[in-house]
Subunit: 199 residues, 2 copies
């Protein structure tokens, strides 16, 4: 509908996840009237990100060097390994400042519907990392949904016989939430996982 | 939270309209794992769009040349001029294939709250275009909201004394909608604008 390049831009933007045709048009017109310097900077970052970013050869997290910042940090505890689905999860956990160990990014979760089996995930790399016995605890921090639980169960069966301590993040009521709005499964888990209150 | 360039990309994407921090992160990770060729093409289109796209010197629509495709088309009726707020509106009207005249893009609507007065819009250019008397009807196709109506009222006062036929798009029930869900103002307008049914 638009003249050449404007339509090309709308088409390209519409390919991004979560950007529908209307949003694509809105973003395109924003860019048309934006400062050329800003648009050029965005274009530049896009090119650079593809040139510079790769995945850490140890943990699979995003990295600008052969290994990521966390794997290179000697202050991180090498005996605890936190297994997550995506790099986004590493960032979410880092934000809590609760965890001082290292990570392993699987690159997804087991999902028969999407055709993702254990071989599509970085599980072989995980087993290789655990081979030297330096890690004593593996925290399974996959998502608390069907795929994440299936992945955690699969990994538990694989890791338990190796004599490792295998843990899973607690399920329960989200802090700041309302008990009455919690779904039954979450509330059920909160009961299951209840703890004695300290005096 | 992310390493250098990844965070830069998330920040840049987050500046786009309608893209929040979560969407920016999602798009960034999509681009990280996307084919480098696709990402380079997006970057290229961004650069090109700023180099090639300008605004038609006659009507203010987006154009890749001095004037836009519609202004250059000799088959378009030069006696009817449709005044719209944005280039997006031109595309919406073109899609109907109902209109064969020409356009004038104001570049917005009068909005005292946003500090947009008549001088910020392409109204002076409109008056210049109407000076030679070739246009006999001006269709005011501004949005059917407060700002659009204010702009239409302002333009009507300006154009009527010039002896032009000034019309406004019909307000009424949207086709395919449910009468019971129509707001009172729309339903009121639909009554006001009711027409005799042909036999």
């Amino acid at each position: 509908m638009y003249e050449g390049i404007v339509q090309d831009l709308i088409d390209e933007l519409g390919r991004l996840p979560g950007v529908g045709p209307k949003s694509a048009q809105r973003i395109a017109f924003h860019l048309l009237s934006a400062d050329p310097v800003d648009v050029r900077r965005l274009a530049q970052v896009l090119v650079e990100v593809k040139e510079r970013v790769r995945f850490c050869s140890v943990c699979g997290n995003v990295a600008e060097e052969e290994t990521c910042r966390i794997c290179r940090d000697p202050r991180r505890d090498p005996s605890v390994l936190c297994v997550v689905e995506e790099s986004k999860d590493v960032v979410a956990i880092e934000r809590t400042r609760e965890f001082r160990g290292r990570y392993h990014v699987l690159g997804g979760a087991i999902s028969p519907i999407e055709g993702i089996g254990p071989d599509e995930l970085r599980i072989r790399e995980l087993m290789t990392r655990l081979a030297d016995g330096a890690v004593t605890e593996v925290i399974l921090a996959t998502d608390p949904n069907l795929e994440g639980e299936a992945t955690a169960t699969y990994l538990t069966r694989l890791l338990k016989p190796m004599g490792l301590r295998v843990t899973r993040l607690a399920s329960g009521l989200p802090v700041g939430g309302d008990l009455e709005y919690a779904d039954e499964v979450t509330l059920g888990r909160a009961f299951e996982g209840r703890r004695a209150v300290d005096d």
